[in-house]
Amino acid sequence: MPTSVKVKTLRIDGRDVSAREDQTILEVARENDIWIPTLCHLDGLSPVGACRLCLVEIKGSTKLLPACVTAVEEGMEVSTQTEGLESYRRMILELLFSERNHVCSICKSNGHCEMQTLAQRLGLTHIHFPYRYPSLPVDLSHELFGMDHNRCILCTRCVRVCAEIEGAHVWDVMGRGVDARIICDLNQPWGTSETCTSCGKCVHVCPTGALFERGRSASEMDKRPEFLPYLTLMRRAGGE
């Protein structure tokens, strides 16, 4: 550790922990085996603080703060598992399930889906908000991969991995609000993209069954996002 980096001590859920000053609450929590749920966050991609699942309480602040982007501070007292937070997290997940058509039983990622796993871990047994049932397309124009917008949660991991790691920036978000959608190039079928390198990184960082490899059947799409931290580590090492 370079000498210029200072160490800070803080409390997370009553435990004293120490951290480098440039670390986020999420990083420190994970180092100390304190679990904070996340969906949009992925090690190796820029943080966006969008899913709001990692919100934590900080003593002295009336606002809930996203652990993924909040830097540690000396003497900070963080609570990650209060009853209020748990209830908010469940409701946020419920909103996601109600937003599009997540029919888990027939999903390629059934059993390997981060959202599904989170729902179970947070004790969600049903969605009490009314389902919206929007009519959304499935793009099967690419010869290797598919995109099912019904299962997309707009975490933008695909957008970020493609722009930040692959450097192709095939994906972006169009529109806004509940009508926002992930698009390929000029909102065109994936198979017609001139910028896609068919690297498949987007597929493997996708937390749900929205992006998948073709030819897989229900429950067969196991994602391997582990390449990412490795890749970013190697790149950083290469750059030094």
Partner: protein, 177 residues
């Protein structure tokens, strides 16, 4: 004291949850020792009894008939349990929700029928424009997701309930399990 009364109900679902229920095999006997099965597709009772202690509902609410039925059942049931993803999330049956009812009917009875079928005018319950989970129509006391929930899950949930405890469902199953 008499045994608690028990019912199972089949709305819009594939009956997979009932199959899973039957998959409890010999444990069924153990369960049935503790309850009085008073109403079910598995038994030949036409009228829903006045009071049922525990009822398992499989399937989503798809038709006017389902709707009327579940309302009536709710009124006569103490603990109503949504069993399986169709009841809990409306699951596969709700995949017709993106299409208007008449095109769904046409697809099923005309386009997919060999030799030009017709949409039957009688004997069919009227499809609701939108399939919905049971709890959007009536109050539900417990949710057991899964497609289908495993026999172990059903067994564990029923055992806990019969022992007067509240089962920790999320520890047993999840959506799509």
């Amino acid at each position: 004291m008499s045994k608690p009364t028990f019912a199972t109900i089949w709305l819009d679902g594939c009956s997979g949850c009932h199959m899973s229920f039957l998959d409890m095999d010999e444990r069924l006997v153990e369960i049935l020792d503790q309850v009085d099965l008073v109403y079910s597709p598995l038994v030949d009772v036409k009228e829903y009894p006045e009071v049922v202690d525990i009822a398992l509902v499989e399937g989503a609410v798809s038709t006017d008939e389902d709707r009327a039925k579940i309302r009536k059942i709710r009124a006569h049931t103490k603990t109503l349990i949504s069993l399986g993803d169709c009841a809990v999330t409306s699951n596969v049956p709700a995949m017709r929700n993106y299409f208007p009812v008449d095109s769904v009917m046409k697809r099923a009875y005309v386009e997919n029928a060999a030799g030009g079928g017709v949409i039957p005018e009688r004997g069919l319950p009227k499809l609701d424009p939108r399939v919905c989970p049971v709890h959007e129509v009536v109050h539900v006391d417990l949710f057991i997701p899964g497609c289908p929930p495993s026999a172990d899950t059903i067994h564990a949930a029923l055992t806990e309930l019969l022992a007067g405890r509240n089962p920790d469902i999320a520890a047993l199953t999840r959506f799509g399990a």
